[in-house]
Amino acid sequence: MFFRLSLKNMKKSFKDYAIYFLTLILGVAIFYIFNSLDSQQAMSVMGNSTYEIIDFMIQMLGGVSVFVSFILGFLIVYANNFLIKRRNKEFGIYMTLGMGKMQISRILLGETFLIGLLSLAVGLLIGIFGAQFMSLLVVRMFNGVMDGYQFVFSGDAFWKTILYFGIMFLIVAVFNVISLSRYTLSELLAAGRKNEKIGMKNPIRCVVVFLLAVADLAYQYYQVSHPEEITTSGILVIILAGCVGTFLFFWSLSGFLLQIFQKSRKYYLRDLNAFILRQIHSKVNTMVFSMTLICLMLFLTICVLGGGLGINFSFQKMLRELTPVDVNFTDISGAEASTKLKEKGFDMSLLEDGYVEVSFYNTPELTLKDTLDRTGLDVDISGLAVNLEGNEIQETIMKESEYNRLAALYGMEPVEVEEDTYAIVSDYEVTEELRNQLLKAGKTISLNGKTYEPAYENCVYGFVEMMANHGNTGIFILADDQVREEWRGSSFLAGDYRADTQKEKEQIDQEVMKYDVTNMSDGLLINTKIDIIAVSGGLSASVTFVSIYLGIIFLICSAAILALKELSESSDNKERYAMLRKLGTDEKMINQALFRQIGIFFFIPLLLAAVHSVFGMIFIKIALQSLGRIDYFSSVLAAAVIFILIYGAYFLLTYFGSKRIIRNP
């Protein structure tokens, strides 16, 4: 009997529950997708040899999942409370009919159970298929090639999802019973009636506060886009001031808009414009806090999504640029790298013929102390220069012809130096800046009792050893005959594998890696492209996954809260729209007004969040400069697609839900 009542209730109010279901299903699906990443085939393209990094990533995602489950838990309890409140009157009627609280609780438990079961089933189904798309996405993101398609199902993630959400539903059920037991019958029956008092704000005050809020935000924007002078405590002040500015912005926005539009009668009195503006103005009092919160959450989402994806995109791009060949051998013992390799029994035929072998030179005559010495030059003192000034580390020197052969192999610009000039090759921005100042000032160096002038006014972009990030702090290039053989330090060999396909390359790579650890003590170091990409690609993948994961969860939260808020207001709206209809307003006009009203509530916080994010991203970009230049365009595009899909779905559901509410008598 009670179960049938639950079932009937659900069928009846299915549309009311649409937002709740969407949230639950999305939550379940995303939870499954991210927890099933480990067993996905796509992971294999990121690196055969480095499972530790994937393990690390799985652990990280696992930790984040606990956090996410807390957020989702709160969201579900919140949404559920909203639905219970809507049904207070129904419970009141049950109680007047003599049904006890225990029995009503049983109905509620039955409903929670049904909803949980249904959303888990649908969510898992979507999750399992979504995971396959995720695989494709991962492969694209990391430029991998998947050998054949394979449907993957992760049992671990499946049970984990059921366990976590099972616990959440249990908590929801407990909350339901508790909140029900607190009500008295008269409260439940009177739930529909409430005294509405609309506080109208002083319009002049609104305008003043609005201008203040805009000025505050503009000042904070200015500050974050010039982060050089910001201290850690300064950041906190900016964040706080930003939050206050956002709050005041929403507090005064509708009043401000009213003032502006009322000035223009033409616009204000056309169609239902006055009505829409007043609707918003009257609701801002109750909505201002949640709008602020949602705006800030959206801001966080955009930054996390855009920033995370952006870092990954630029990281991937940089990695490709920094690993132009398959393998680097370095022999620091002083022998020729190729000789050493042959000695160790390495089959040189594994390498393509065009490999390049060069030598690094260094001498106590040329140390950082010498090259950064500013005596007699008009150069600013910067922090780093002071730190490095007294350093006795010897600079690396290379022969012009050798460097140019390598540059040709790597596809970089060649360097030209005369008998009495030198050039510096570097790709690390921080030291580059330092050296550029000196080069511009005409910094000379002395070697062999000779003085060399700079051949270029700036460092030449370039690197020799493959690395995961830009780390070449500077290599001095001298004309071949200016370099003395006794300075020879180490030998370096760069080349490609003799292979056509990625698979063959991976096989050779495994062969090559056998020589890595065993020969470390002999001074032979090996760096391979596959290894570098696997290790750092994995790291960047972890960052990306976690940011997408959190980003989407934040997005769902903001959208769901906004949607529920908006729907809970619709009972007030109902009377007003019914009034409009009685007066004979066209359905089209009514729908348009509703659409605009909800649209404004959804998109004003988004708009402000977007503006916040532009400056937030500028800040991230500058702050993470050492990681490399962040390319935002494609990442913003990717984030925007995810965003529009989820946020748009909530918006439309809210619109259609409200439309249904105002239409029903």
Binding site: I198, R265, L269, L583, G584
Partner: protein, 255 residues
């Protein structure tokens, strides 16, 4: 004289085959242009149903309602909305002003939804407000006004579009006697000076005595009809009371 409203053999049934309630039972009457007609009846007599049918909020089961030579029972969808906003004006017991809008905006709304040019709206609103003596409250919100002021704002909203017919449903129901008197004087002003045709539903004999003609409804049928003729309002009131007494006890309690 032009017939503004013709109700012909209108029936309205509620319920299903098993239990049928006849709310309106073959009721017929006419309202001429410039008339002020009252409809009286006890609760449950069908007077609100009649008003709802005329205002197209409810549909008739059979019969015709002709407003301005147009059978409105045949209208559907947006034609209904259009009919309501162009031909009718409404005044409700509970005022039904939008609480979020000022008096000015509430009145202007009736024109806005007719897509009247905004430049013309301002002028019309101010003129109508002056006529109904509410210029001083134009920029107040409903919660800042007295009941009488609210109802006069509702009147202004109802007549600003110059409708064929103004429908009033228990307009004095939520007002004290002084406000009620002022409102009814406004009605007379609207009727006599502005030429508005009024159809007012009430169960209060005092309110009804302001009308030119009164239709009495009982059990969904027309029971009696009174013309004021040359009588003073007081004499007319006496005749109304007589009919009410004749109608039976139900109406007495409201006196």
């Amino acid at each position: 004289m032009h017939t503004v409203l013709e109700v012909a053999n209108v029936e309205k049934y509620y319920g299903n085959k098993g239990s049928l309630t006849k709310a309106l039972d073959k009721i017929s009457f006419e309202v001429q242009e410039g008339e002020f007609v009252g409809i009286m009846g006890a609760s449950g007599s069908g007077k609100t149903t009649l008003l709802n049918c005329i205002s197209t909020i409810d549909r008739v089961t059979s019969g015709k309602i002709i407003v301005n030579d147009m059978d409105i029972t045949r209208l559907r969808g947006n034609h209904l909305n259009r009919f309501r906003r162009e031909e009718l004006g409404f005044i409700f017991q509970e005022f039904n002003l939008l609480d979020t809008l000022t008096a000015y905006e509430n009145i202007a709304l009736a024109l806005s939804i007719q897509r009247v040019k905004p430049e013309k709206i301002a002028e019309k609103v101010e003129k109508t407000a002056k006529e109904l003596d509410i210029s001083s409250v134009l920029h107040k919100y409903p919660y800042e006004m007295s009941g009488g002021q609210k109802q006069r704002v509702a009147c202004a909203r109802a007549i600003i579009t110059q409708p064929q017919l103004v429908l009033a449903d228990e307009p004095t129901g939520a007002l004290d006697s002084k406000s009620a008197r002022m409102l009814l004087e406004s009605f007379q002003y609207m009727n006599q000076k502005l030429g508005a045709t009024l159809l007012m539903v009430t169960h209060d004999a005092f309110t009804a005595s302001y009308a030119d003609r009164i239709l009495f409804i009982k059990d969904g049928k027309l029971f009696n009809e009174l013309h004021r003729g040359e009588d003073s309002r007081k004499e007319f009131f006496g005749r109304i009371i007589e009919v009410v007494t004749l109608l039976g006890g139900e109406l007495n309690d409201v006196l």
